[in-house]
Amino acid sequence: MKSAIHDSLVITKRQLLQLARVPELLVFSTIQPVMFVLMFRYVFGGSIDSDQPGGYVQLLMPGIFVQTVAFTLASTAIGLAEDMKKGLIDRFRSLPISRGAVIIGRTFGDALLNILVLTVMALAGYAVGWRPTSGIVQTTLAFVFLFMFGYALSWIGILVGLSVKEARTVQSVGFLVTFPLTFVSNAFAPTTGMPRALQYFAEWNPVSTMVAACRQLFGLKNEFGATANSWPSQHPLETSLLYVVVLMAIFIPLSIRKYKNYSN
């Protein structure tokens, strides 16, 4: 067990070293979310009505946080697929290291990157007028939720990366999954305007429950949710937690098993 943690951390450290050696990687992975903040704030923000005190940006920020964290799925998958393609994973597998350390280490690395990206985004949000009103404890709890959600998605990313193997295909698959999930949700616009069937999907969508949970924890009324009066939209915190636990319970063992057998 001790060596499993040690091995995983060596792999995590490698990912951090990559950022140190190629700082552009870091710049680009933080520029995109900041760009989203600015775009939605100033391009759409003006045309979307909201009677939220503090304006649309209050509703927007939780949406962008969740969307960014959701992209962890794709970035984990792409990173893993690239390592496999370059033969690095084979090298790791020929070493006497703990099983699973290679992928556990990667999920740790992506989680650390998420902390950094969330921090940068929060600062950018603050700069354009985002102000959580619920106090430090609840606000921090919202970020814990976001962090856990990203971590759970990272494990789906591991499975996608191991299954698809080709980085470019992984990228397409990743976006094919994350775009509908983030946009058919309450993240950027009210679900009220959607066709009835889509409303149900949107309200059960983990992205929506996460966004609603964050809004609640930041001290907002969840103005964009709860049109179909579904259970998830009424209980966003519980539902989100349940999603995170269920996703991890399914995808961690699946991914580890897939990794152990992947080249056979």
Partner: protein, 327 residues
Amino acid sequence: MKSVIAENLVKTYRKGEVKALDGLSLDVEEGTVLGVLGPNGAGKTTTVRILATLLQPDSGHATVAGIDVIKHPDKVREQIGLSGQYAAVDETLTGWDNLVMFGRLYHLGRQTSIDRANELIERFDLTEAARRPIKTYSGGMRRRLDLAASLIVKPKILFLDEPTTGLDPRGRQDMWGVIQELVKGGVTLLLTTQYLEEADQLADEIAVIDRGTVIARGTSDSLKKQVGGERLEITVEPADLDQAREIVAKISGHATHVDLRTVSAPVLHGSKDLMEALRAMDEAKIHPLDIGLKRPSLDDVFLSLTGHVAEETVVEPIGKKKRGGKK
């Protein structure tokens, strides 16, 4: 003692459609070098992947350092070093970063990992490039670093999969030098190659494989003999050709072959036959322009064993052979 034993390995891909290994058997005596020689797609990489525990065979049996690779892959991994076209290093990191990381993954302490990295960098002549990302390395430097990474814990058994494929002649010479040094140090080496010359240079014994099975094995010399042994070859002025032909025919006892001014025929006793030919020429007052024993090249060996030439010119880019689809 045999350090590596493979028995009847079978591996198929795409549900049996593609047969990568078809009952392959080989073994490597401790402290010796076995060259596994074959064209692309013959099954070299699959063999190494199975022995290095990266791949499970459909059937068959293999041990490395006396340990079953299928039952105890973890224990095998403690004994081996692997370097090849597919087992790579992190190109974003520097050479030094990589070596320290691999040291840590072999559970060396932080300082030991650093010391070992420095030692290997010096030994493999990479001091200047040590702090540069591997992306900026030349092919030869990259291979040396890759090899260094597999030597961190001084493994007794080493697998090198096509260590010089894609290198320029100088890079290849350097790599050969490095490998020969290693072998002097007593390591047991299984080396795959599609270069006949490379097997000839580096290996104590050669296993020629084609379509997933070993079709011949032995020392370079014995393989050459298997194809037809030595030929006595004499080149003379056209006026002396008939006389030279008589001499060669008498010594050989076989039919002679004449090509312009050169007469040749198979002989059984090598240098003794050569001396006899020289004496006969001297007595007949013929001055040979050239005289010698010619042994078949490994190219000839491959051609006569497989019925097709080794595809020496095919060079696949690194990393393209993934997804089990290599075969």
